[in-house]
């Protein structure tokens, strides 16, 4: 079985292997090796037989090829209505073919399937909303990604991403020690501005266990400080875990099922150890989907839920505003045309559409908020979901995919886009860089801190 030194069927298991992969700038050697990577057909078919179950079998078989999913897909719309971009076609020509051929596919097929799975679908699940049979092509592409990963046909950045989770339990090379140091640093830096501010670590039995995104620790730790400030101002009893603080899961994008499970179990272990009343995750869509929505099933939890009630950051914000724990200074409400990016992963796929709008009602002056069209569960993906944002070889496709979101934003006339999701935030940042439409974009935390009233006893003297 021909395999490369970098591109192969083996998951990353050592730091050395991860570094070797990282040293291959842009994945040049990796993709070269991929061209001659053999397909282990017995393994592929054996995996399908064990894991391809009645729900997906039914979906593939009952698809009437009616084409009603076509217009729901932003890839189809921005690629001149190319029939090869119809969701049903995309899944039938990849996963469907693997099934029909009983796994008897070759290297060229697998590389085509890889491009289709990562550059022609972001697993946004919008097509499933419009299919008369309720067929969820996004879910099937997630499954296909797993088959491709097992055979070594996965984009270089995502092999690295899932490898990071395997080595560091985080999407980036941030160790638990570095996380602890960053918490200490941020608390020190902001303590005088917010007297009494702390970032409690490993507190047992707190009301809230806060989990976040490694990129916040690595590149913009202000986001951690902002979360701490808001919990502090709201008077919350909260903590972060010394280990198990990473909510995100690039392994889900990569289709690395084993690492998916390892990562969520690591977070659940922190919950079991610290026994908080509930977990609040940062402003990240896929992290919520991975750890709160899908993770329990990966971890084999019969309840279908994490060990404690786990909510997205917008749910906590809405609750804090509703209960008066956080109060917005009416004079400081947003008074510019502003719109909201509905994240697929917790709006369409977890029903939080009205929660997001409840927050808008508090922080935006009436008359300034403009909905995108379409919106809520019908909203389009940012264009960079499902891991597409970070994949170099598919940058051209990703940049084109941003056009739908660009035009939606332009149509609103907004100068500010609220994006309470890391992936959406990144995509909107990139679309501004690429297309220069003159917008700003923001997470919620920064906007809240600019507007929230500081309780009398917490005012800096």
């Amino acid at each position: 079985m021909l395999e490369g030194t970098l591109c192969n069927k083996h998951p990353i298991r050592t730091e050395q292997a991860l570094k070797a992969l990282l040293a291959d700038t842009g994945g040049k050697k990796y993709y070269e090796e991929m061209k001659s990577l053999d397909v282990d057909r017995p393994l592929l078919w054996n995996t399908v037989e064990k894991t391809f179950k009645s729900r997906m079998r039914t979906w593939l078989e009952i698809c009437a090829h009616c084409g009603l999913c076509a217009d729901s897909c932003f890839f189809f719309r921005i690629n001149d209505r190319d029939p090869q971009q119809v969701p049903a076609y995309k899944i039938q020509s990849t996963l469907g073919e693997i099934i029909r051929r009983k796994g008897n596919v070759d290297n060229t097929f697998m590389r085509m399937a890889m491009e289709t799975a990562w550059a022609k679908c972001t697993c946004c699940n919008r097509c499933g909303l419009y299919c008369p049979h309720g067929i969820d092509v996004g879910a099937m592409f997630s499954y296909l990604r797993g088959l491709l990963y097992q055979q070594g046909f996965v984009p270089w950045e995502l092999k690295i991403g899932s490898g990071m989770h395997r080595i560091y339990h985080a999407q980036m090379d941030v160790t638990d020690e570095e996380f602890a140091e960053t918490c200490k640093w941020m608390a020190e830096e902001y303590q005088e501005d917010y007297p009494g501010l702390t970032i409690p670590m490993d507190k047992t039995g707190a009301d809230i266990l806060y989990t976040l995104n490694a990129r916040e620790v690595k590149h913009y730790p202000e986001a951690l400080a902002e979360a701490a400030i808001l919990f502090h101002l709201a008077g919350e009893d909260w903590t972060v875990p010394r280990s198990g603080w990473e909510l995100t899961n690039l392994a889900m994008f990569a289709g690395d099922w084993e690492a998916c499970k390892m990562q969520v179990e690591h977070v659940y272990a922190a919950i079991e150890r610290l026994k908080p009343k509930r977990m609040v995750g940062t402003e990240c869509g896929h992290a919520h989907r991975a750890t709160v929505v899908e993770g329990p099933y990966w971890a084999g939890r019969k309840s279908g839920s994490p060990p404690v009630e786990s909510i997205h950051y917008i749910e906590w914000v809405a609750e804090a505003l509703r209960t008066g724990k956080l109060k917005i200074d009416p004079k400081k409400r947003i008074k510019e045309r502003v719109t909201l990016q509905d994240s697929c992963n917790y709006i369409r796929n977890n029903g939080l559409k009205e929660v997001a709008r409840e927050i808008i009602g508090y922080i935006v002056e009436p008359g300034y908020f403009v909905e995108m069209s379409p919106n809520r569960e019908h909203n389009h993906c940012c264009g960079g979901g499902g891991g597409l944002n970070g994949i170099g070889i598919f940058r051209k496709q990703r940049n084109k995919a941003l056009i739908t979101k660009r035009d939606q934003i332009i149509e609103t006339g907004a100068t500010l886009v609220i994006a309470p999701c890391h992936n959406c935030w990144d995509a909107i940042r990139d679309l501004e860089e690429k297309y220069c439409i003159g917008i700003r974009w923001s997470f919620l935390k920064t906007l809240l801190i600019d507007r929230v009233e500081v309780p009398e006893h917490l005012i800096m003297r």
Binding site: G26, E192, G392, A427, E432, R440
Partner: protein
């Protein structure tokens, strides 16, 4: 006075005068000089790509590129390298202000030196995602004094005739005062120290009549306040002056510094973290460093601990 100096540079013209100051100081104090450059900003989500902050190109990180950046630094510093052998080049990627602060936390320098604003539209995406200038953000949270040199130097360090210290009576101002005093004492400078305060328009609530009298009265009281606060520390200083004026603080400091032919302005920027990022808000400190013809030292509350 300085054993470790961190020169944070963008390798552009805006840093040229700061570079000269950094190497001069390293030579004068036999200090180790860390020449630090943040060359790339993370982009495209979790990818390994960064945007080169000078060229704007998308770059995939590898050792070769890092070596190339270090060669660029060596070329940028060129003649200055003759001044000292105790230097090292440090490069990284990230958001510049945060990485400068992270490195400062690691090496615990005695002084950070930076250039003026680049005013470069090429990095507009970065500027709009992280509002507030790099200098301003570093000055706010640096663990040591931050010296900003934006224009050609009127004098060498230690050859000053006039130092202006602007106070707003905050803790940060106390740290600034300590630094100014220490500079004068340790360097045995035979120069004038001007302690200055600007009363902003909102401070004085004048009635319709006797407005000028009320202002004069307020200025007199503020001068007394300054004397009470700082006199006990002035022992041995022969040339110490107090001045209070009413107006826009940044403008008044700059005007006064100009009148006194100041060689150095010392400030303790007392700005709440979130105020510096408010839209259209430019702090007094940023206005001063943008327009001052002499170097400006910012000393914050963290740096106060450093001096003890």
């Amino acid at each position: 006075m300085f054993q470790k100096i961190l020169f944070a540079t963008c390798l552009r013209e805006a840093c040229d005068h700061a570079a000269r100051m950094a190497f001069d100081l390293a030579q004068k104090y036999d200090a180790h000089l860390y020449v630090f450059n943040v060359f790339g900003m993370p982009t495209h989500g979790y990818s390994q790509v960064v945007t080169d902050l000078i060229t704007g190109d998308e770059v995939v990180l590898n050792e070769e590129y890092v070596d190339w950046v270090k060669e660029e630094i060596a070329e940028y510093c060129n003649q200055l390298l003759k001044k000292t052998k105790k230097y090292s080049f440090e490069v990284t990627i990230g958001f510049p202000h945060r990485e400068i602060l992270r490195f400062a936390r690691l090496i615990d320098p005695d002084l950070i030196i930076m250039g003026g604003s680049t005013g470069d539209p090429e990095v507009s995406t970065y500027k709009r995602s992280i509002a507030g200038s790099t200098v301003q953000r570093v000055a706010k949270a640096a663990p040591c004094p931050v010296l900003v040199v934006g224009y050609p130097l009127p004098a060498f360090w230690g050859e000053y005739s006039n130092v202006v210290f602007g106070t707003d009576f905050s803790n940060a101002s106390d740290a600034g005062f300590e630094f100014a005093l220490r500079l004068l004492r340790e360097q045995k400078l035979d120069c004038e120290l001007h302690v200055f305060h600007a009363l902003s328009d909102g401070v004085i609530q004048t009635g319709d009549t006797n407005a000028q009298e009320e202002i004069r009265d307020h200025i007199g009281k503020t001068k007394q306040q300054i004397k009470q606060k700082y006199d006990p520390w002035m022992e041995g200083l022969k040339q110490y002056f107090v001045e209070v004026r009413k107006g826009l603080p940044a403008l008044e400091i700059l005007k006064y510094a100009d009148e006194k032919h100041a060689d150095l302005i010392v400030l303790g920027p007392h700005t709440k973290k979130w105020e510096i990022i408010a839209k259209d808000h430019t702090s007094i400190f940023e206005q001063v460093i943008a327009r001052s013809r002499c170097p400006v030292v910012s000393v914050n509350r963290f740096a106060q601990g450093k001096q003890d």
